[in-house]
């Protein structure tokens, strides 16, 4: 039986920030659970930021979101069967990822199919929670993340999964980019587009499973989709966009963890709020920047 007491907030510290960055950092890293959180958070942010670029490019944001929700049923099912929830999560995300991938990237009505499956699996998840009469906290942790309850063993598993996803992404980089931009053309050039679509969803399933530990099933968008969605507004060069996405995901995770350490509120709240605030700021500043550019251009002409 899994009975990890879930820490959504850092209640065992009543620390106040000294506002001396070095001193505060030393205080943060004084605790093992914070060190583990930073380690796992860093790995997850790198993976999520990188794969997020392709999720945005392929228009698969809903599929990514659905994967995590479908994974929730797997995770709660595993808890009922006294298995590690991560095993159930991975099994369900991988399985559904392969099926979504096989449906293809440009099939009309794909999102409707995904939504129908998604609703059903969430219902399954509810059933499994009710069957498992132990800790509701377990379900809570899956939904909202449990980065503060991560052991050094979990960090090692996350590291291995992180390396697998990054190596997988590098291996399929060019044909994945090609088929994401123009599937028909890539196929004519000999790219196995369906196999690639399945492979990508499998890699995404592993990434989603990792990210669930940090932000949970419901908040997965904040680390996978938001950083990449911001990045593509700044650059149209793929490697630069991936780099910006990774840096943003890292910044949200590190800052979110640090703020939560000195606050009574959950880490997931800070990570998702930082992501959201940044996205809103970028979107709002765009028309202002455009107006300034136009004014500057007008001034030159005049």
């Amino acid at each position: 039986m899994v009975d990890v007491a879930v820490q959504l907030t850092i209640s065992n510290t009543s620390s106040q920030p000294s506002w001396n960055p070095l001193e505060d950092l030393a205080m943060l890293l004084h605790y093992d659970f914070m060190v583990h959180a930073f380690e796992a958070g860093t790995i997850v942010a790198i993976v999520a930021g990188a794969i997020g670029y392709f999720v945005v490019l392929r228009g698969s944001a809903f599929a990514a979101h659905a994967l995590s929700h479908i994974g929730f049923a797997g995770a709660t099912g595993a808890v009922v069967l006294s298995l590690n929830p991560i095993v159930g999560l991975l099994a369900f995300t991988l399985g559904s990822g392969v099926v979504i991938g096989a449906l293809g990237n440009r099939v009309r009505g794909r999102d409707v199919t995904i939504g129908i499956v998604l609703a059903w699996t969430l219902g399954l998840g509810v059933l499994f929670i009710s069957l498992y009469r132990g800790y509701a906290t377990e379900a809570y942790a899956l939904l909202f993340g449990q980065i503060l309850g991560i052991s050094s063993g979990d960090v090692a598993v996350t590291l291995v999964a992180g390396i697998v996803t990054v190596v997988g992404l590098v291996a399929v980089y060019r044909p994945l980019l090609f088929s994401s931009v123009d599937e028909e053309l890539a196929s004519a050039k000999g790219v196995p587009v369906t196999a690639l679509s399945i492979g990508f969803m499998a890699i995404l399933a592993v990434a989603v499973t990792e990210a669930v530990q940090v932000v949970g099933v419901l908040l997965i968008f904040a680390l996978i989709v938001t950083p990449a969605a911001i990045a593509v507004r700044f650059t149209s060069r793929p490697p630069t966009a991936i780099l910006i996405g990774v840096l943003l995901a890292l910044a949200f995770t590190w800052l979110g963890l640090s703020i939560a350490f000195f606050s009574p509120h959950p880490v997931s709240f800070f990570i998702t709020s930082l992501a959201f605030a940044t996205y809103v700021a970028v979107r709002l500043s765009e028309p202002i920047l455009q107006w300034l550019q136009q004014r500057a251009a007008g001034a030159t002409v005049a």
Binding site: L57, G59, V170, A171, V172, Y173, R174, P175, L177, F178, V181, D182, E184, L185, A186, S187, A188, K189, G190, V191, V232, R233, T235, S236, R237, P238, A241
Partner: protein, 266 residues
């Protein structure tokens, strides 16, 4: 059947999906370096022919030879612009990167060796189609004509011998149609490319094409434009009354095969 002067040769070729026959008994030979327009009603099997030349669809009967070989997928000697190619307004990818994918986008991994060489080839192809001014901008933000030029650069970047284009003019206004056809024709002559271009409307192409390949009513027929696009010839080929009309500005309209065959756009 080897014919070094022909880029694409069909002998008694039939196309279909499963038991459904789309057209059959096609026999034609596309001369190397020629510009051929593929015309015919929607659903007649024009794209099917392109897919067969690309090696994406096997023939149900007969033989097809492309550049002296049986068709095979991923042939580097073929440049291609698929049907309906236009980019999502949100697509944040530079034209330069897109054209680069035409060089090695089908290879696994990331581009490690030959980065400078690939960049040079992409820049040269973009220059050849006159798209240098906007190749650094996001594809989604470009106009239809600009996107079409970059699609053409992508098709040219691997130095192909055969260029297949599936309705490259359909989303363009009349002025852009003229400019793109002129460009295609010039580039083809300079590089001695063989061109097969599917079009809805033959009028913007008339001054440039050498041959017309008509795909309609389960048959494929080839001929010189002036010879085949006549009431007598089309009626005889398709054994049904087909009328070719010319308006006061010299534009041709084909009536009888299916209305939209020669609907001029704009």
């Amino acid at each position: 059947m080897k014919d070094p002067a022909a880029a694409v040769v069909a002998r008694d070729l039939s196309a279909g999906y499963g038991s459904r026959v789309i057209w059959s008994g096609a026999g034609f030979s596309i001369p190397t370096g020629s510009f051929t327009a593929i015309l015919g009603p929607n659903g007649g099997g024009k794209t099917t022919l392109i897919r067969m030349i690309l090696g994406q669809l096997p023939a149900t009967a007969g033989r097809l030879e492309v550049l002296g070989q049986p068709p095979h997928r991923g042939n580097p000697q073929i440049g291609y612009i698929p049907q309906g190619s236009s980019f999502d307004p949100d697509l944040s990818l530079r034209g330069l990167d897109f054209v680069g994918l035409g060089i090695d986008g089908h290879r696994w991994g990331v581009r490690v060796a030959g980065r400078a060489q690939a960049e040079r080839a992409a820049v040269a192809a973009i220059d050849a189609v006159g798209a240098t001014g906007y190749a650094g901008r996001p594809l989604g933000r470009l106009s239809g004509g600009e996107q079409q030029r970059l699609l053409l650069a992508q098709a040219l970047v691997g130095n192909p011998r055969l260029l297949l284009m599936d309705e490259p003019l359909s989303h363009l206004d009349v002025r852009n149609q003229g400019a793109i056809v002129q460009l295609i024709s010039e580039v083809a002559r300079m590089r001695q490319l063989t061109i097969l271009l599917i079009a809805h409307d033959v009028n913007p192409l008339l001054r440039h094409i050498d041959h017309v390949l008509y795909v309609a009513h389960g048959k494929v027929a080839m001929g010189k434009p002036a010879e085949i696009i006549t009431s007598e010839s089309l009626s005889a080929i398709y054994s049904s009354p087909v009328e070719v009309l010319t308006d006061s500005r010299g534009r041709i309209f084909v009536v009888g095969l299916e209305e939209e065959v020669s609907h001029p756009h704009g």
